[in-house]
């Protein structure tokens, strides 16, 4: 078996359809219903006159489908998190490339993620969706492919598992508001594990780079890139326009400093605003194309 496994070779059964983040962002049906005017300035002037509050709550008209889609995203994310942690056990030599205790933590994470896959399958079934009903974006595993274990921990444990904290908090609240105790119960348990995983990442990052500021800087920069990428063009931010909120309290429990949470908040808002501009440009291009077609 090779060291370092390419994302395109991830093994899946026939139910799954893999897509890249570029595919997802290019899909005009992508459910980020930001309101932009023709110049992409973010005014509540979009063609659908949608409300500015896009947080995933049971009162949203598309709540059921949105929650099912998000649940499927969690499911495939858990599979990739399992695969990523597993690869960290295999890809690095114990002692020379990664400490024994770090690999033990990654093995523990494998077990946790395997349970999360089990929980997600049961929850998806409960919510009325099927495996493979939605496409699988493989960007999470890509963040787990760095050749430096510290970068993997920054990208996966701190950025991605940090996002998982935000997602599970939103879903737990969704379950609470919808009176769905089954959903709330499961999200609560998964949230506990994710806080542990983020803390593992925070602890290892500080420990390994204690005397190597350059490596720490590189790792934090990589985390920043992944955080922005995983804000999915504004899907997660403090703004009510984002379906998923930033779970500040649980992030603190997981070892993020106040400053670090602020940086993530800024990066997420930036991603949301960039997405608004992009959506505005797409709409404007479409409007111009329609105009010239009618001439």
């Amino acid at each position: 078996m090779r060291k370092f496994f390419p994302v395109e070779d991830l093994a899946r059964d026939s139910r799954f359809s893999k897509i890249t983040i570029a595919d997802r962002m290019a899909d005009q049906r992508t459910a980020l219903a930001v309101n932009v005017n023709a110049n992409g300035n973010g005014d509540a002037d979009g063609p659908s006159k949608r409300t500015n509050n896009m947080r995933l709550t049971p009162s949203r008209r598309d709540a059921s489908d949105g929650a099912r889609g998000l649940m499927h995203g969690i499911f495939v994310g858990e599979i990739q998190a399992l695969e990523g942690a597993g690869r960290t056990c295999w890809d690095f030599e114990t002692g020379t490339e990664a400490p024994f205790a770090l690999k033990l933590d990654m093995a523990r994470q494998c077990w946790d993620e395997a349970r999360h896959v089990e929980i997600s399958v049961k929850l998806s079934d409960w919510m009325g969706s099927e495996i493979g009903q939605y496409a699988e974006n493989t960007v999470l595993f890509e963040a787990a492919c760095s050749s430096d274990p510290v970068l993997r921990l920054a990208g996966v444990n701190r950025a991605l598992e940090g996002l998982a904290i935000d997602v599970f908090t939103t879903m737990k609240e969704f379950g609470d508001l919808a009176g769905d105790q089954y959903l709330e119960f499961c999200e609560d348990w998964m949230l506990a594990d994710e806080v542990t995983h983020v803390k593992m990442g925070s602890d290892w990052l500080r420990k390994i780079t204690e005397n190597d500021p350059e490596r720490r800087k590189k790792a934090l920069e990589f985390q920043n890139v992944v955080d922005k990428l995983f804000s999915y063009g504004g899907t997660r931010s403090d703004s009510q326009e984002s379906p998923i909120g930033l779970a500040r309290r649980f992030r603190e429990l997981a070892g993020f400093t106040d400053d670090e949470v602020e940086v993530i908040a800024e990066v997420s808002m930036q991603a949301l605003n960039e997405r608004k501009v992009a959506v505005g440009q797409i709409r404007e291009a479409k409007r111009l194309a329609d105009q010239s077609a009618h001439k």
């Binding site: 059964d13 056990c89 494998c110």
Partner: protein, 210 residues
């Protein structure tokens, strides 16, 4: 109530533990080092294979079992200094070169169509060898002086039996044709040949000598 000052036997009549064991401290530490090395190689391989198997149930089992073997490695890592090996890395070693070749051969399959070979190596060759080596150690070591090793062995053996059963049941569900049965047997034979050369997880004499 019985008189609390009445002398009682230090070993109750039902406590039949005996003092002698077949391993001295040095031999026990050597074996524990071999166990740790092999458990490490196993958890690393199980973790690495997760991404390579398309079957969702197998993916989840491998992830679960990966941690169990990591935990076994950790238990042995912690036991080594208690056996007078203050540098656990020194004894974290394969029993011999054949054991290294065995692990290389076991971890060679990577393609998504090779799940049977991956599982055969683990659940039909290596884990049965673990069960044998651990049982021999459990039955042979001093029940009094080596009680901490016995406690770990009992926890670990429970895991090994559970995992072996899981793996064997998955294999039985995957092997559907005579050709697949032949594939499984051929791979098992190839690996067994190397394991025989190694003599078991703790080398020649893993199960004593008859």
């Amino acid at each position: 109530m019985a008189d609390p000052y009445k002398p009682r036997a230090p070993f109750a009549p039902w406590d039949r533990r005996t003092l002698p064991g077949i391993f001295d401290v040095e031999e026990s530490a050597r074996r524990v080092g071999n166990y740790k090395w092999t458990e490490m190689k196993l958890f690393e391989a199980l973790g690495g294979w997760v991404a390579t198997v398309p079957e969702l149930d197998v993916k989840m089992r491998l992830g679960t079992h990966c941690y169990k073997h990591a935990w076994h490695a950790e238990l042995w890592h912690k036991r080594l200094p208690e056996l007078r090996e203050m540098n656990p890395e020194r004894l974290t070693a394969p029993a011999n070169d054949a054991m290294v070749r065995f692990i290389e051969a076991m971890t060679e399959p990577e393609g998504p169509e090779l799940t049977i070979e991956k599982l055969v190596g683990v659940y039909r060759v290596l884990i049965p060898r673990f069960i044998a080596a651990y049982t021999y150690h459990l039955n042979g070591t001093s029940e009094i002086t080596d009680a901490p090793t016995i406690r770990s062995l009992k926890f670990i053996l429970q895991d090994e039996f559970d995992d072996w059963r899981d793996g064997e049941m998955i294999l039985q569900s995957l092997i559907e044709t005579p050709e697949e049965a032949a594939r499984a047997a051929a791979h098992m034979q190839k690996l067994e040949a190397i394991m025989i050369e190694a003599g078991g997880i703790a080398g020649i004499g893993t199960l004593g000598s008859l």
